[in-house]
Amino acid sequence: MKAMKASFFCTNTYLAPEAFARPGWPASPKLYRPEIGVRSADYALEQARLADEAGFDWVSCSEHHYMPLLQTPNPNVFAAALTQVVKRARIAVLGPLVSMNNPVRVAEEFAMLDQLSKGRLVMLFLRGTPNEFLAYGVNPDETRARTQEASALIVRALTEPEPFGWEGRFFRFRTIAVWPGPIQRPHPPIFYSGNSLESASFAAANHFGLGMSYYPPQMVSQLALYYREQCAKSGWRPTTDQLIYRTFVGVAEDDKTAAGMKERFFGLTATVASMTAGRGAAVKALTPFGAAESLARDRERKSAPKPDQGQAGFGFGALQFCGSPDAVVQQIANFHALTGVGVLDVSFGGAGLTPQEAERSFRLFSREVLPRIRSIGAGDAPRAVNEAASHAGSGR
């Protein structure tokens, strides 16, 4: 088995609190101050550089719109900047909202990023949160099908050796010939956003890795197991580093200090509340626990988390991994044994924590956690992880 990997989620967060004072989506552009904007980008790129130096395996970014928390409406533009400061780690675009972008454009940008990074790109096809569908006026009811078709088209665009055309349900192009081509052949590693059973099935059928985010470990375990089962039906077995989990981490010198951080951390609670307020309330609220409900129903797992155990949307508010370095290492080891996930995509800041606390978490994680999680999973027999996942998934 491959050793555990860590990815630093670089959010390019706006660094002035007044932009977060009024909840609701979208955030008013009048709150944006150019000098803060410049400082925010500089800070984000410096954090990425430090993460690279510290030994993080990947540095990631994602597409989000109209909010100061994640100032990466075009993650590929930001990733291009990352390629110039991150010299060793992979550049993971997790990912563009392929449901509402031009897929050929996305493929072209991916190819450029693979070129600029000299073959270090990792890509994920993301559907998006419902409020974000408003950004480009896409019908929310079509976004799943659009995401699937766009994903197929992007892969084709990156791999077809001759010019070709595409006649689909949502996309029509009579001539496609991506140039430059990807450096990694046949294409960079591909992941699919997989916070639902349907997405996990699609990922498995297409031999994509699976990206999950913010779910509690038990739910991650169930989804990962389901994904593995679907992969087996499609005749292949994913490696552990084809499973990504995005979450928050808080590290302090001792458990008591960390407990204080955990208490004050409000995670995505406020973020999701904000996304589903204002104009964001116009679309159906996030219901990611449909996955858990289906799992619980289909498998009759009494231990499956209930939808009302979390916040609205996928906003479980807790710092998933929080404590002293020793404690966090143990938590990650337990998580890996439970889920078989091989890549943690982590962020440290915001959500009730001070910038100083976030920087301390980052520093401690880099120095005292990251080197030690390298051994997690390294000696696992494949069967052991599968059995652990199966056991966890069965709720026994």
Binding site: E149, A152, R156, E160, P161, E162, P163, F164, E167, G168
Partner: protein, 213 residues
């Protein structure tokens, strides 16, 4: 033998050659020689006949491609058709290519719907014939269509044709297998009709993106 305009179809049996071709003649306009095979193509023929004159041939099996091509061209001439486009499904792709090569001056455009792997060098078709045709000699604008759910070998055919035919448009129809007419009939009709109308300029977008005029 040609039906009057507005009539649905005229049938004829053409027994001049050894193959006893059968032909249905329908519609009006620029002529299409449609080599129909076992797949469901009646609807496509009927819809194309609203814009084109369609000579739909039912061919015998196990006939050498160049022989049948000559008979088809003669049959078209007997229908008073001097210039035509050719459409073929997978079973008769070789015959269609032979037509496009042997009668290059008369073939305006070529459409190959999910042509099979017998077109690949060294492969043999179901009749035991090999594809020793020089695709490079095809001068007519050519459209080749494949479904994205076909297996990898199909795309090798498409890439090979795209590479070897000077003016070949290689199109993938999303979420279809080899029977595009059944899975995506509207997409098939629109692609073929647009291609036969505009040929090389088929790649130029014509759909308006204006929200309102």
């Amino acid at each position: 033998m040609r039906p009057s305009e507005g009539s649905t179809a005229g049938r004829s049996a053409i027994g001049a050659g050894p193959s006893a071709l059968r032909c249905e003649d329908s519609g009006a306009g620029d002529a299409i020689v449609f080599l129909r095979d076992s797949t469901e193509q009646s609807a496509l023929i009927e819809q194309l006949a609203q814009n084109f004159r369609v000579l739909a041939f039912t061919l015998p099996r196990a006939v050498e491609a160049s022989t049948i091509a000559a008979e088809i061209d003669q049959a078209a001439a007997r229908h008073g058709v001097a210039q035509y486009s050719v459409i073929a499904g997978s079973d008769y792709a070789l015959a269609a290519i032979a037509l496009a090569i042997s009668f290059a001056g008369r073939v305006n455009a070529l459409v190959l719907i999910t042509p099979g792997t017998e077109l690949l060098a060294g492969a043999a078709n179901r009749n035991g014939l090999t594809a020793d045709l020089a695709f490079e000699q095809i001068t007519a604008p050519t459209l080749t269509l494949f479904g994205t759910r076909q297996d990898a070998a199909a795309f090798d055919v498409g890439r090979s044709l795209a590479k070897r035919i000077a003016n070949c448009f290689y199109i993938l129809v999303y979420d279809s297998d080899c029977n595009i007419g059944r899975h995506c009939p509207q997409a098939l009709l629109e692609l073929v009709r647009d291609f036969l109308k505009r040929r090389d300029r088929f790649v130029v977008g014509r759909d308006s993106s204006a929200i309102r005029e």
